[in-house]
Symmetry: C2
């Protein structure tokens, strides 16, 4: 929207003025009239239009019009000028007796100016979208989108492109949002007028704006490769330069600018950024030029989006260590059957850290013009510390991290403790991108462990997958993937929530006992592991109490999940899994008792489409078949899912993790576009 601007004219003088097409110049006639003026008349060239407010009583403008206290002349132009001052308007002032008391002459130069973005989100920068200055969520929403340029164009000494304030390669431009300055008018602006791009300090800390120096993008062989891009795409706005002149190209022209997002939405940043373009009118030396027209566009920085188990897998990641050959082999088979590639992180990079799930979380960022995966690096930083930055960060593969300044990083900061649900609808509110899930301590305790605040703040600020805090501090390791996961389903909401359930476990073991299999052994054939019979398990009252407590903890989460994800009983499947309590192995000083899985924790699985890679439970054998595997296959089979049991006993389970903890999956993004969310 272009606002009216007050213009001063003086009788006895000719003034030149630039008029932006679409804008309105208001001249207060009474204020600038010669003393004793009673009437006025207006004459102008064909390109100039005028109105008088309040409208004169006589409909003919041939005879002079009475001036009153509030007579305002409203002047506009409907097209750009071919040359400077090619349009004219004259005001004559008359005395009572129609004697001319004075003449004011206005020379006008019409220009068209529009700062343009892709406000309708179709990947094309349209001309002067009326909604370009505001941002609205939803299918009928509008407003341009910006990506954080968190990938890198470099192969060596790489770092995210956000960390360098220049365009290093033409491929870098596609990570930025195109913003076009369209102008039309004479070959040059009248003396002293100029165009300035500007931004507020707060917003300047969130973006950079570059522009193409040569509109045609001419190749200049005289420059070195580095010079080429730095010189051809000069930096216009940054946190150090809040306002800078941009050239007026003359005639009908467009200048391409490139806006680069620097920060994801966070606690102190709502994601919105405004960029302004003003036409400045000169006064004289020592006086600031007056902005007589300002066009504003708004961008929202795209949030980081997580991908649930129901999305198609794209790549599977595992670590190779000195002791996990068998696990790797079984994983490789499963992944090959799924038609995917296994990416193995070797020991020189993982330094013995096998917990691929815990160091990173895969997600992506999306806009109408471009999309790429982005890895969120956990502040955990054990052996795999360098893997995401050194191995994953690359062209069209972004990197982001949040590291607390003062707080300690603990076990709950691992990303086995960060998951996301499939799309859900809760009491009429839709979450088409699902909801993020994290594990923390009860808010009522003063001694519990938590996920570090900066990571929580980051997750909440993304907004589009509103997080839910679960209770995971009851576990020694403390990750929500120890008791829950989601699998795709052909019916109902398109998925099931799987929960570890000691009750389901005891129910199964009691049935086995009742059916005469009380002497069947768990852990049969597992090296260095004592076996235990079904009868022994069922007669241990203390063990039962421990599992009752665990079931209580999981039920607490079950209640939260049902409520916050809008689930029914029928959406949940209880898996027969037992736990045991121990004084916290990770926290020797604390007298806190926490839980670990008693046998390989089947819920801690990898989900690859319809194929599940499940920790092999080594349960009691009945008629030659593991009763736990049989139960699992039966429960999953109903959903059309196939179970592959992977032996992770020695190399993961004994170290308090399982298949899921030891792997990671990059998935295809949602088809649903985040900006179509109703917020």
């Amino acid at each position: 929207m272009i606002h009216p601007r007050t213009l001063r004219v003086d009788y006895g003088r000719t003034i030149s003025v630039v008029c932006v097409v679409g804008s309105e110049l208001n001249v207060n006639l009474n204020r600038s009239a010669p003393p004793s003026s009673k009437f006025f008349s207006v004459k102008c060239t064909s390109n100039v239009y005028y109105n008088i407010s309040p409208p004169p009583e006589s409909k003919s403008h041939l005879s002079p019009i009475p001036i009153n206290d509030n007579s305002v002349l409203l002047i506009s132009m409907r097209s750009a000028s071919q040359s400077e001052n090619d349009s004219k308007l004259t005001v004559r002032y008359y005395a009572e007796n129609r004697e001319v008391l004075g003449i004011a002459v206005l020379h006008l130069t019409g220009v068209e100016i529009s700062l343009d973005v892709d406000a309708d989100r179709d990947g094309v920068v349209e001309k002067n979208n009326p909604n370009k200055g505001s941002w609205k969520w939803g299918p009928k929403g509008h407003g341009a989108i910006l990506l954080v340029n968190c990938d890198t164009e470099q192969t060596y000494w790489k770092r995210p492109d956000t960390e360098q304030a220049f365009v290093s390669n033409v491929s870098d431009l596609k990570d930025m949002s195109l913003m076009v300055l369209r102008t039309k008018g004479p070959a040059k602006l009248p003396e002293g007028y100029k165009l300035t791009m500007h931004i507020s300090q707060g917003h300047a800390e969130r973006v950079r704006v570059f522009r193409a120096k040569n509109p045609g993008g001419a190749n200049n062989a005289k420059h070195s490769f580095f010079d080429y891009f730095v010189r051809d795409y000069p930096l216009v706005l940054s946190s150090k330069v809040l306002s800078e002149e941009v050239p007026y190209l003359g005639g009908e022209a467009q200048m391409n600018c490139y806006v680069e997002g620097l920060h994801f939405p966070d606690k102190d940043f709502d994601g919105l950024v405004r960029v302004n373009l003003s036409l400045l009118e000169p006064i004289c030396e020592g006086l600031p030029e007056t902005p007589i027209f300002t066009d504003t566009v708004v961008f929202r920085v795209a949030p980081w989006i997580m991908t649930p188990n129901t999305l198609e897998p794209a790549e599977v990641f595992v670590c190779s260590t000195s002791d996990n050959y068998q696990f790797l082999k079984e994983m490789k088979d499963l992944v090959a059957k799924s038609g995917l590639k296994l990416r193995t992180c070797f020991e020189n990079m993982n330094r013995g850290d096998r917990w691929m799930q815990d160091e990173i979380e895969f997600g992506y960022i999306d806009s109408p013009h471009h999309r790429f995966p982005v890895v969120l690096d956990s502040p955990r930083d054990r052996g795999l510390k360098d893997f995401p930055y050194k191995e994953l960060l690359g062209g069209d593969f972004g990197y982001v991290t949040r590291v607390p300044e003062r707080e300690d990083v603990g076990s709950l900061d691992s990303f086995g403790n960060l998951e996301v649900s499939p799309p859900v609808s809760v009491n009429g509110k839709n979450y088409p991108l699902g909801r993020i899930l994290i594990g923390v301590a009860f808010p009522t305790t003063t001694q519990g462990r938590n996920m570090t605040q900066v990571v929580q703040d980051f997750l909440w600020a993304q907004k589009v997958q509103e997080p839910i805090a679960l209770f995971s501090d009851w576990l020694v390791v403390g990750h929500i993937d120890e008791f829950m996961t989601f699998v795709p389903a052909p019916d109902r909401k398109g998925f099931r929530l799987l929960l570890a359930s000691p009750d389901a476990g005891f129910k199964l073991f009691r049935r086995l006992q009742k059916d005469g299999h009380g002497q069947a052994k768990l852990f049969d054939g597992v090296p260095n592991q004592e076996t235990i019979t079904v009868d022994e398990i069922l007669q241990d009252d203390d063990f039962k109490s421990q599992n009752d407590y665990v079931q209580g903890c999981i039920d607490w989460n079950r209640d939260v999940l049902k409520r916050e994800l809008g689930l029914d009983e029928e959406d949940i499947i209880d898996l027969p899994i037992l736990f045991k309590l121990d004084t916290d192995a990770l926290d020797k000083d604390a007298k806190v008792v926490r839980a670990v899985a008693f046998y390989p924790d089947m819920v801690n699985m990898i989900v690859l489409g319809k194929r599940l890679g499940i920790p092999k439970p080594f349960g009691p054998r009945v008629n030659g078949r593991c009763a736990l595997e049989a139960e699992m296959c039966s429960l999953m089979g109903v959903l059309g899912l196939s179970c592959t049991f992977i032996d992770d006993f020695a190399s993961y389970h004994k170290m308090l993790g399982e298949v899921h903890c030891g792997s990671n999956v990059r998935r295809q993004p949602f088809k649903f576009k985040w900006w179509k969310l109703e917020m």
Copy 2:
């Protein structure tokens, strides 16, 4: 809203459980049934209610009901228990042949728990308002309100009450919001159960929660005065204690708590604070107690609100200096005529700083239970530095300030540069509390002066008087009160915007010249001031150019004000005021040219209801009367306003300020309540 909770029962065992009235316990029957169970039946005492999901086909509950995979028993209680475990429910499990396979027994204790606030904003804490957990703006809105306890209960060594973490006086309690914990149940809770109040770290930094130790508020004469309050109102929650047990009082009881706001809404604080109360169920030593019921209330911290000139004055403030006796006398007369008291700040406190407008801005905070004025102290800090803290801060008179950490404080940080409009409506959007106005440089310049960011952030964060940034950097002093003010009017929008206007000035002088008064002198009779005639003014082309520039600057603001306040030409009155340009007297190094008023700047007035105190302009005398005063009286007289011209020439005007700069007015608050705003 109370959510369902999963409860585990075991056959062959009796378990005791506390059930909060209004909540629902869900028992998954299949999960805990003995193997081979096919049917179940339920029996309970009269205070216990149950439902079965999915509902059994047979409508009679007399015969056993088939168990299916998802059979859930939904248990609730409708009133509190008289004694522990006084209610009972039994589940019997049957085999195919109706043989009883197991019995699960549940002992129940019903309690009523409600954390209550004044969610309907009538000054009374109602019981269990269904909307207490959310906050909604508007006439049909809801949600409790909190005041920042920024006044002081102390007379000596005073500091705002927010700075001390105890209740120093019973009068302190009325600055806080009452929050009542209502409970009903047996004399004591079953062993190990407890009530805990808790809050998140982020919110705990914004409030403190105290509680009354003795519900009856018994007076205990054994304590000293200080001990009395500290001990009788112990601190429950603060940034150092996020979770604390509160006593369960037994029977039907209520415990009064007092919530104290510590911070105004700001850049990093949206003003909303949640306080939670949970009932904890014991597990056993070493395991965290489980929150089985949580009640949450939400408060919004009341914003700081400014008062426009159209509100009734309450007190007028001026400074006494060695040279302003005459000014003081004239002000005293005007204030007396208005029926108000003049409060004079003497030299020992003002240390020669006469700019009462610039050091402080009066506002207030409001809630359904209490309201008081709050002074915003400018970071300017010249001679009047200590005045707001030492003289104004007091009982029911609050104090707030924002001081930048690193940036320099400049002339635009004085509060002559901070004003507020009367209520307006702009394109259908209502601003019933008006809009805040500040002056800054053009955003297109890199060298302009600005108002410090922390003060701007504070003003924007209050939200209810959405600020507008004007251009004031063209003035040497740089305050918006040098070119604009608002006066009450009987018609139209209830006010007029007055703008200084060199065009109106020149028009008046030209008329005088034309009428034969070209030799009339300005400044006639002013000591130590050369006179100048109307003719001399009109023949100085350079002076006219300077004023054309000034008119352009004011017109730029006029356009913004019309647009942002929804004003018409008829809502604005141009006052005949001339300016002159000079290299900036406040900024000797800069080669910038800025403006000061050429004669006393009549728009810089004090507005006391229908009485205006206007700088005496010392304009040209025509027929014994100052033509500027006559014009002013004529323009204001139409609105029913009376003009008193106050001689501030030597003591203010020559020092680049006027009447408004040298005074301040505390006004009555708006009748409109801020929480009724549609946001």
